[in-house]
């Protein structure tokens, strides 16, 4: 079998041009030193509190997400192409969401079957004909990208609801600069630390029309959420309030927060709470994380939610196969980034193919996230495959299947030394008055040998991502 593409080394085992300096630097570092740096990184992450709570464990028990010291490096040219593709894709996705809640042109044109939209649990009828600032739905998008070969990138998933991980992008950079300042003299690495500034600018640019100086807040489910560090980090970096549902209330279709000086109006909410929990009056009535009446205030145009309600329709895996068509339909452009070929198990032919090739395919729940409810055929036992087959036959509509991509690998520190491990990339795309990105993203790495699952909930780690300046 062909070896997967290695980010650092070419087929002959020589460092690729943009990795050469790093490669020779790495060879000069002793194992002891790298081990010490690793321990230092863990200590700092713990002291700074870049951790998440482990549920059901002892008092105050917390974990850090493993951080790997070998950066994932992009040459300027390659990144440029990737960035273009990302901007194009997110632009089309936002147009699509607007369309399905308004004119439905894409359905009328026969590109996506109506039932795929209207029967989808992620479609929010409450949003029909609701107008929101700048017609932007996914102000913050995290697009998961993998590489299969030289210049060969695929979009694995569009995360348009509450994508997380951006704080690790920034903290990993700070950590690298702290541990290995000398590397940053050898390389000109494009900065990413201004992400919170761009985010604030983006959020302000989608304020309700009649507001002059918008009051922006970050809405978190609370300190026991695994991404609480990130919520608190972003609020602090932007200099805005971090609120929980109970801090807010709605009166006369306006949102207020409870302060020590009385109620204060809120205009833009960067919410890190799922649609279902946002408003107990409209969605799940048992939710204690949301704000009663928020939807009415939102529909009245008195508050902006970022991301909008109902963006899930565009990041659902059953809609994913249509994204290249969307790009051509809305923008009249050829898609720059590839989609992974996808079999929709709701189609009899696709299902038959999937069932016959379960050992070769990756099968996913259309509504799943976080690496749960999926089968990685080549890495599964016979018994696991058979168990999954039963689920698939019972509910084919809920699944899609994709060929197992040979995800690229990047050298990574593991117990036995430095070894290749599979990686992906989640860059973040901000859509406001204009589309903005910082060069880079969060590189996630599957620390288990051969594993393709990079999610932190499944034992993945992170790496700093470098985009080199010309």
């Amino acid at each position: 079998m062909k070896l997967p593409f290695d980010e650092m080394l070419d087929a002959a085992g020589k460092a690729r041009p943009h990795y050469q300096i790093f490669h020779s630097w790495l060879k000069q570092q002793s194992d002891t030193l790298m081990g010490l740096k690793r321990a230092e990184a863990d200590l700092i992450f713990r002291r700074v509190g870049i951790t998440f709570a482990v549920y059901g464990d002892d008092l105050g028990s917390e974990r850090t997400i493993p951080f790997d010291q070998v950066p994932r490096i992009f040459a300027a040219k390659e990144w440029e192409q990737l960035e273009k593709g990302l901007r194009q894709r997110v632009k089309a996705l936002n147009r699509f969401i607007y369309d399905v809640y308004h004119e439905e042109d894409i359905i009328k044109a026969g590109i996506i079957p109506a039932e795929q939209i209207f029967n989808n649990a992620q479609y929010r009828p409450e949003m029909r004909n609701v107008n929101i600032p700048r017609d932007i739905y996914a102000q913050i998008a995290g697009i998961d990208i993998v590489r299969a070969g030289e210049g060969e990138f695929y979009v694995l998933e569009d995360n348009l609801r509450v994508p997380s991980g951006v704080s690790y992008m920034v903290e990993d950079r700070k950590m690298m600069m702290r541990l290995f300042p000398d590397l940053f003299q050898k390389y000109r690495v494009a900065p990413v630390e201004h992400y919170p500034d761009l985010l604030l600018e983006c959020l302000k640019s989608v304020k309700p029309d009649d507001v002059k100086k918008p009051n922006v807040v970050v809405l978190t489910p609370g300190m026991y959420n695994s991404a609480y560090f990130e919520h608190s980090y972003l609020a602090q970096q932007m200099g805005v309030e971090l609120v929980e549902g109970k801090d807010l209330f709605v009166k006369n279709e306006q949102v207020f927060m409870r302060t020590t000086q009385g109620p204060e109006r809120v205009d833009v909410i960067y919410r890190r709470v799922d649609d279902d929990f946002l408003d107990p009056l409209s969605f799940r009535s048992d939710s204690t994380l949301g704000v009663a009446g928020l939807l009415s205030a939102y529909r009245a145009g008195n508050v902006t939610l970022a991301n909008a309600i109902g963006t899930g329709i565009a990041d659902d895996k059953s809609i994913y196969p249509y994204v290249p068509d969307m790009i051509e339909f809305y923008l009249g452009e050829k898609p720059i980034l590839n989609n992974v070929p996808t079999f929709q198990c709701r189609k009899p032919d696709d299902l038959a193919y999937t069932l016959a090739n379960l050992d070769k395919l990756v099968v996913k729940l259309t509504h799943g996230a976080g690496g749960y409810g999926m089968l990685v055929g080549p890495a599964s036992t016979k018994a696991e495959i058979e168990e999954f087959r039963a689920h698939l036959i019972a509910n084919p509509d809920k699944y899609i299947a994709q060929p197992t991509l040979a995800l690229s690998t990047c050298p990574t520190f593991v117990e036995s030394g430095v070894a290749p491990r599979h990686i992906d990339l989640r860059p973040f795309v901000l859509s406001g008055k204009t589309i903005k990105m910082v060069p880079g993203g969060l590189t996630r790495v599957a620390l288990k040998e051969g594993s393709l699952v990079v999610n932190s909930s499944q034992g993945g780690g992170t790496k700093d991502t470098w985009v080199l300046e010309e």
Partner: protein, 326 residues
């Protein structure tokens, strides 16, 4: 500022201060328990420590005997005891974690490091030397305050932290004084019973250590010497801890500082707190130690505790409990 944020700042400070004062109280008891004395009195002094914190019943549901080891264990390590040092430091750190964005990263890291170091101490299970641990607790709490003063903006967050600290401190100083004073009374009874009241020398020797330990527990031994240049006399000790305006842990000092802090965070519900504090200040300003002793120290302290806790309740209502939606 969000009411919930103010609440977390306030409780972060109160729990930190409580951890420190518990450490101080335990340390003074531990030190005095090493002095030669009747066994009943020893037990009595550990019992007092539980009663002033209203924890005797909880304690007795866990342990059979009131003695040094058990009380130290309960007051330092027991997680089911919300006033134990471990519980206080945990609560302080959890509150800090919620509002880490509202304190400087230095303040947060100080709280977090305290908690992480405590984990290591707990894992090591080195319970042989309580004094060292108690000193460490005091030191970490001093560090918290120092870092806070050295790095934070003098804004609302800073004021709420200080209000929490001072309300807790006023309460704790009053309680320490009350226990030790009661100790003194029971000591006299014991002395009368055991020695027929003819052991004046031994008594004053014990008095000295007893009151000196109390002063040390509030970092006031050197201060006492400096101010009074005199022997350690109970009445002057009480005077120092109640009325001295310069002594940072005295009741008067706490009340005075609270008055200026409340003025900084004034809102449309703060008038009542200002009124109550003003009244309390006046009652201290126009009284003196002789009057207190005539009234009875215990009664005076009980009344002070009631007032300061009422003020804390009013403060919660005015600032911390999310205002109704109208």
């Amino acid at each position: 500022m969000l009411s919930r944020t103010a609440d977390c700042l306030y409780w972060m400070a109160r729990y930190t201060e409580r951890a420190e004062n518990t450490a101080r109280m335990l340390d003074v008891n531990h030190q005095t328990s090493l002095l030669p004395q009747p066994a009943e009195f020893l037990e009595q002094s550990w019992k007092k420590l539980l009663t002033i914190s209203k924890l005797e019943a909880d304690f007795l549901s866990k342990y059979d005997v009131i003695n040094r080891e058990n009380v130290l264990d309960f007051m330092i390590y027991e997680t089911s005891n919300p006033s134990s040092i471990v519980s206080c430091l945990y609560a302080a750190r959890e509150n800090a974690r919620v509002i880490r964005g509202k304190i400087t990263s230095e303040v947060w890291e100080t709280q977090n490091t305290t908690w992480l170091e405590l984990q290591r101490i707990l894992e090591a299970r080195d319970r042989a030397d309580p004094s060292r641990l108690l000193d460490w607790v005091k030191h970490r709490c001093h560090l918290f305050r120092g870092v806070m003063y050295g790095t934070m903006l003098k804004n609302e967050a800073f004021y709420f932290i200080n209000i929490g600290t001072l309300l807790e401190r006023a309460d704790n100083t009053a309680r320490i004084l009350e226990t030790k004073y009661e100790d003194q009374a029971s000591l006299k009874v014991l002395r009368a019973q055991n020695h027929g009241g003819d052991n004046e020398d031994g008594g004053s020797f014990f008095d000295f250590y007893h009151w000196a330990a109390l002063l040390r527990s509030v970092s006031a031994f050197e201060i006492y010497r400096q101010i009074y240049s005199d022997q350690v006399v109970p009445k002057q000790v009480a005077q120092l801890l109640i009325f001295n305006k310069q002594m940072p842990r005295s009741l008067v000092c706490c009340v005075n500082e609270l008055i200026s802090l409340i003025a900084e965070v004034e809102n449309n519900q703060s008038k009542e707190i200002e009124r109550l504090l003003g009244k309390l200040k006046a009652s201290l300003d126009y009284s003196d130690i002789d009057e207190v002793f005539t009234q009875g120290l215990e009664e005076f302290i009980e009344s002070f505790l009631e007032k300061i806790n009422h003020i804390a309740d009013e403060f919660s209502t005015a600032y911390l409990i999310p205002l109704a939606a109208n």
